[in-house]
């Protein structure tokens, strides 16, 4: 109880409240503009938050992370263009509603479902806290190594249809973090004699290049377009009542969001698809899905908004980020010498509770803000894309240059910007590079520190948690192999029947 009060006390400061307002409202606006996602905003703001208190800096970033998906629903519903990538499924049912003249219903349903998902996620996080505080100290070096390894494997396998590319990029990420002076043996690795490579490749520089600069290049090289969103008329509170009729879908979808948000590498996309499929399968009107079904909209929005809180679980408890945004937040912890992981719950529990309350507050702020300013946001959406590209380029400079005032950093970020552009154009994932860098670093350090206590390789898994994680790794491979075999078998009759069809004709 004492910790809860000290957590609340942390929030009762003018700078934290300001950070909360800036983060949550800024996040909604950023989310609402197609072409700027939370990743771009967080990457740009990251170095600026280093000079702030950990709770202030983290609140801004958390605000952007948690509220961007609220904003992203607006263009998804109104102009069939998701504001953030994770609002893709929202447009499936939201846009047909708009075409039927029910834009206000779709938007208000999206807000209500998002709020439900957001609060559900935070409640789970709060309820799980005692369990986390109990389990987290059982994680030693080998357990964290295995958990990071599981994270890498999941990140690769989660990119169905792009597994080889995801694997290549994750390995590239692991390689990038090895470049520079090895901290233990003091030997140079892949520096090619260049002094600027001795200090390694900075994660923030890579993040800014891959997320922010690449997005600027992407917008600047593409033809100009001006998204046109019409203002919404009607009562925006109507969705709350309708949501209450679909409590089951909203809760199960939020549950998917929480569960998948906790697992590194899976996140919003998988949660959305699973809950959408669930909602469709259990619906009385499954044919309505994709044509303006309120259940589909609720499933999608509740699931993706439950993820941010859940994604904080592996980050806070184990120091393992599950996706790119939490990976960026990890660097804020490190800069302030607050190391997330088992000790955080023992030494900085007030910070943890402070973050929980910040998450609750931001959901409330965002909903109130949206109820009054949705029509204002429809005007913001209309920023022409190339102009947006110019602005992102200007802002990226602050991010990269303020880090160390280094022109070399800008050049490295530019190289990653071009790489990010190529990956975006090819529809290949960027996240594996970032997670490869972060998780690769964790794996190297933890494996080294576990070594003195290992006599045989089997000692690696002789503790219960380590054995469970190892079993999970095996399970993931088995499930993946099973899916592949299933797909292979399922493809055969289809192929043959087509062949027979052609012979019959």
């Amino acid at each position: 109880m004492e910790n809860i009060f000290s957590g609340l006390e942390l929030l009762a400061r003018w700078d934290v409240i300001l950070a909360l307002l800036v983060g949550s409202i800024g996040g909604v606006i950023i989310g609402a503009i197609p072409g700027v996602g939370p990743a771009v905003a967080i990457a740009i703001l990251l170095p600026a938050t280093f000079s702030l208190d950990p709770i202030v800096g983290l609140t801004v970033l958390l605000g952007i992370y948690g509220s961007s998906m609220y904003g992203g629903a607006i263009p998804a519903v109104l102009i069939n263009t998701p504001g953030t990538a994770v609002n893709a499924l929202t447009s499936y049912d939201g846009y047909p509603m708009t075409k039927r003249g029910e834009a206000h219903r779709a938007v208000s349903l999206a807000y209500s479902a998002s709020f439900w998902g957001g609060i559900f996620g935070i409640l789970c996080l709060i309820l799980l806290s005692p369990v986390l505080a109990w389990i987290a100290p059982m994680f030693g070096s080998r357990e964290i190594f295995l958990a990071a390894l599981l994270g890498i494997i999941l990140v690769i396998l989660a990119h169905r249809g792009q597994i080889f590319a995801a694997g290549l990029l994750a390995m590239f990420g692991i390689f990038l973090q090895t470049v520079g002076l090895d901290a233990v043996t003091y030997t140079q690795r892949y520096t090619f004699g260049y002094s600027f490579l001795s200090s390694g490749v900075n994660l923030i520089v890579v993040v800014l290049g891959l997320f922010a600069l690449s997005q600027a290049f992407f917008l600047l090289t593409a033809p100009d377009s001006t998204p046109d969103a019409k203002p919404v008329s009607g009562r925006l509170g109507a969705g709350v009542k309708e949501l209450l009729k679909h409590k089951r879908v909203a809760s199960v979808a939020s549950g998917f969001g929480v569960f998948l948000g906790m697992i590194p590498g899976t996140g919003e996309f998988t949660a959305q698809f699973m809950s959408y499929t669930y909602a469709q399968k259990t619906s009385k009107t499954p044919d309505e899905f994709g044509k303006g079904s309120p259940e589909g909209l609720i499933a999608s929005e509740a699931a993706n908004n439950a993820v941010p809180a859940a994604a904080m679980i592996p980050l806070l408890a184990l120091g393992i980020p599950g996706e790119a945004l939490t990976a960026m937040m990890l660097s804020v912890f490190y800069v302030h010498n607050v190391i997330p992981g088992p000790q955080l719950f023992q030494n900085n529990i007030d910070l943890v509770y402070g973050l929980y309350f910040a998450l609750i507050a931001l959901n409330v702020i965002v909903v109130i803000f949206l109820l009054f300013s949705t029509n204002l946001l429809t005007k913001v959406i209309r920023i022409p894309t190339r102009f947006l590209g110019v602005m992102i380029l200007l802002l990226s400079f602050v991010g990269v240059y303020s880090l160390r005032n280094s022109l070399t950093d800008c050049m490295i970020a530019t190289v990653f910007g071009v790489l990010g552009l190529i990956l975006k154009r090819l529809n290949l994932p960027i996240v594996p590079i970032i997670l490869g860098m972060v998780l690769g670093g964790i794996m190297e350090v933890k494996l080294r520190s576990a070594l003195p206590r290992l006599k045989t390789p089997f000692d690696m898994i002789d503790r219960p948690i380590a054995a469970i994680i190892f079993a999970l790794i095996i399970l993931v491979f088995v499930i993946h192999a099973r899916t592949l075999v299933k797909e292979w078998r399922a493809y055969k009759p289809d192929n043959d029947s087509k062949l027979q069809d052609t012979q019959m004709r």
Binding site: A48, A216, L394, V400, Y401, V418, W488
Partner: protein
């Protein structure tokens, strides 16, 4: 035959034009890095395998080579998509904006953050095709807001321009500290 076809189908992906160019480039880059392993990393005699400074570069680079080889096989087995070289040309054209960015970063320490940002915002807005007075005004206003937000308000670490040294006494200190 169908079995081979299905095996092929496992490697096929929903691709975009230019994928095979990326696949070849990734493989060549990975192989080049792997070929430098002995040169660029050290093997410490007597140390355990997992603690060797060479261990993680070797693991990641072998991983890159294997994955990029499979990625290339996947790209080669999938039907060709037209527009490969126009896509590659688009990648090349992005270098122009990369150049703009580097020039901007190089000029800031000399001309100062505020003037460089205004000039850069204005010229780049013209370059990307906006000619209207409103667009230019918006660009300049946005540049000023960005400077005020980050340099004046948040006091982000950015160097003061050398040009500011030549300003009159009253303004110089304000410009050096806040803009």
């Amino acid at each position: 035959m169908s079995r081979i076809k299905t095996l092929q189908s496992l490697f096929k992906r929903n691709r975009r034009p230019g994928d095979i160019v990326f696949a070849w480039a990734a493989l060549c880059f990975s192989v080049f890095l792997l070929s430098q392993l002995a040169d660029q990393t050290i093997w410490k005699n007597g140390g355990k395998l997992f603690a060797q400074p060479r261990f993680w570069p070797a693991v990641s680079l072998w991983g890159m080579v294997v994955f990029s080889a499979f990625h290339l096989i996947g790209a080669a087995l999938s039907p060709r998509i037209h527009g490969r070289w126009s896509e590659v040309w688009l990648w090349v054209t992005s270098l122009e904006y990369a150049f703009w960015f580097i020039v901007y970063a190089a000029v800031v320490p000399y001309l100062g953050y505020l003037p460089t940002t205004i000039i850069f915002a204005m010229t780049l807005t013209l370059r990307v095709g906006y000619r209207s007075f409103t667009a230019i005004t918006f660009a300049i206003a946005s540049a000023i807001v960005i400077v005020l937000l980050f340099k004046t308000f948040l006091q982000v670490k950015l160097p003061a321009g050398r040009f500011y040294e030549y300003l009159p006494d009253g303004i110089r200190q304000i410009m050096l500290t806040y803009f």
